[in-house]
């Protein structure tokens, strides 16, 4: 469904250049849940932003449902974007609109359905996420878990083939995490939606994923089923799964040697 080949992305100019993604290859299969796991700063969000067409890579290609995303013109981008929904980490609901209008927005803008049909469809989507009855609330009146569920309802409003989830369980209590996990699994199994989940919640990723891609400093260090990841020999993978502060993944985030950096500082 989604193919990513040799994706490479750097930020910054010549001497301050940082490589954020290096030779990222992945294949997200139709109807499956693929999680991208990794520590803070490993480049997960950057991958996602490439997949939704917000960043242009330095090189490499992204093919979504047969359509090349990199270098697509405006119409091409619109066509591709109608195939997927995105659930943002913060929900990104429109604060000035009610829940109903939020979910109805993509329908109103991209379809010619009449208002009654739209409202029925909104009700169906809200029922799917278990929040029918919240139609007339504003986002500011919702809890964090509810916001994510409404954001999910909006993401699936146009019945997309693909849904991207950015940290769906960040900042939620275990029960809400369970609810969201169940929703993701249900959607992908019942509606054959291809799901791409960016997360650092190991237990939840292990539970729901068909495939896990593990990132470290912009490189894929492991990819496979949850079972394969759990049994990986790679000490970095083991350290991440077990969450131990000591191991091959250093505590310091700097890419430069400490002594070197001190030497380079000029004291004047």
């Amino acid at each position: 469904m989604i193919k990513v080949n040799n994706l490479r992305k750097t930020f910054g100019e010549e001497d301050k250049k940082v490589i954020v993604l290096d030779d990222f290859n992945a294949h997200f299969e139709a109807g499956q849940i693929t999680s991208i796991l990794g520590g803070s700063g490993s480049g997960k969000s950057t991958v996602l932003k490439h997949l939704i067409g917000v960043y242009q890579p330095d090189s490499g290609e992204i093919i979504i449902d047969g359509d090349p995303m990199v270098g697509a013109n405006r119409e091409g981008l619109v066509r591709i974007r109608k195939k997927f929904g995105v659930m943002f980490q913060s929900g990104a609901l429109f604060n000035s609109l009610t829940v109903e209008d939020n979910v109805a927005l993509p329908l109103r803008e991209h379809t010619d359905l009449n208002e009654t049909t739209i409202l029925i469809m909104v009700k169906m989507k809200l029922e799917m996420v278990g929040l029918r009855g919240a139609e007339h609330l504003k986002p500011s009146q919702l809890s964090g878990g509810m916001i994510k569920r409404i954001a999910l309802a909006r993401a699936i409003a146009l019945d997309p083939k693909i849904v991207f989830y950015d940290e769906p369980s960040a900042g939620l209590d275990p029960i809400s995490i369970g609810v969201i996990d169940k929703l993701i699994v249900d959607l992908s199994k019942k509606m054959r939606i291809t799901s791409v989940v960016v997360t650092h919640e190991i237990p939840s990723a292990m539970r729901i994923s068909d495939k896990i891609i593990m990132l470290y400093k912009g490189k894929i260090i492991a990819a496979g089923s949850p079972e394969e990841i759990r049994n990986s020999e790679d000490p970095r993978v083991q350290q991440f799964i077990n969450g131990s502060p000591d191991g091959p993944i250093p505590f310091s985030k700097s890419q430069k040697d400490y002594g070197e950096e001190l030497k380079e500082m000029r004291f004047s």
């Binding site: 943002f88 913060s90 990104a92 429109f94």
Partner: protein, 271 residues
């Protein structure tokens, strides 16, 4: 000596950096303005009609709710002008001409300018704050990934609203300012109402009002484009929203005055 040249070099470099930054901002604003014009005036005729509901909402927000402050400010300016000019004109024995002076300065200059400045503070700030908050909470990103154009969705309604409302408010401000002058003229200053009216009508010409309106539509474009641009470039958190709101107000006020200067000199030399 070395220090001196070092200093010169350093400040030249800094000036260059500032200038470069400035031109980057200007070109960014130019592209956003172009996109807005395209979405507002061209796209609707290519089969994607405008939605009018958000435009009405913005018109109410921008226009109707600003009437009180615009009325108050321009009325008081009329009053102040009448008082200020009266003492001078009285010395020349030309008290009757207070009306002419107030009328001409309001329609030509103060009406459009004061209305635009008030609106830059009231509406321009609100534009940046609203859309900036949407930007930092990823709402604009969400619009984009839903294949909706944020320019068309957010800027166009505001653009149309202020482009229609600012000239309307300017006309009303003109009327209120003249009324303010008239009230003071005929009561406190004791000018004969008929004479006041006659002198005013003699001095004022329709052309002044029209050029005032042309100016105010340019001011409208400045207010909405600076406000939107300052919102769209926000990266980071809430503190940036406050910072850019302030910058938007300051920059649009300066640009309004500069545009006014350009217009005035243009009219001065051309007509």
């Amino acid at each position: 000596m070395r220090f001196f040249f070092g200093f010169i070099g350093h400040s030249a470099f800094q000036t260059w950096a500032v200038a470069e930054n400035f031109f980057k901002e200007i070109s960014g604003m130019y592209y956003l303005t172009r996109a807005t014009f395209y979405c507002t005036f061209i796209e609707p005729f290519r089969g994607k009609p405008n939605k009018w509901k958000p435009v009405w909402t913005q018109m109410e927000e921008v226009g109707v709710k600003s009437t009180t402050i615009v009325f108050l400010v321009s009325f008081l300016i009329g009053v102040i002008l009448a008082f200020q000019t009266a003492s001078q004109l009285a010395r020349l024995g030309a008290l009757d001409f207070v009306g002419a002076l107030v009328g001409v300065s309001i329609t030509r200059e103060l009406g459009p300018l004061m209305t635009a400045l008030v609106m830059a503070g009231r509406v321009g700030a609100a534009f940046t704050a609203e859309m900036g908050t949407m930007k930092v909470s990823d709402e604009i990103l969400a619009l984009e990934t839903m294949a909706l154009n944020p320019v068309k969705f957010l800027i166009t309604p505001r653009f149309i609203a202020i482009l229609v409302m600012l000239p309307c408010l300017t006309i009303m401000a003109d009327a209120m300012g003249i009324l303010g002058g008239f009230m003071i003229g005929v009561t406190t200053l004791g000018i004969d109402p008929i004479a006041y009216f006659d002198r005013s009508v003699e001095a004022m010409v329709v052309k002044d009002v029209v050029t005032g309106l042309i100016k105010s539509s340019v001011f409208a474009v400045i207010i909405v484009m600076v406000g939107s641009y300052m919102a769209f470039i926000i990266e980071g958190g809430a503190e940036k929203v406050g910072e850019n709101t302030r910058t938007a107000v300051v920059v649009s006020m300066i640009l309004i005055i500069i545009a006014d200067l350009i217009f005035t000199s243009l009219f001065f030399f051309v007509t």
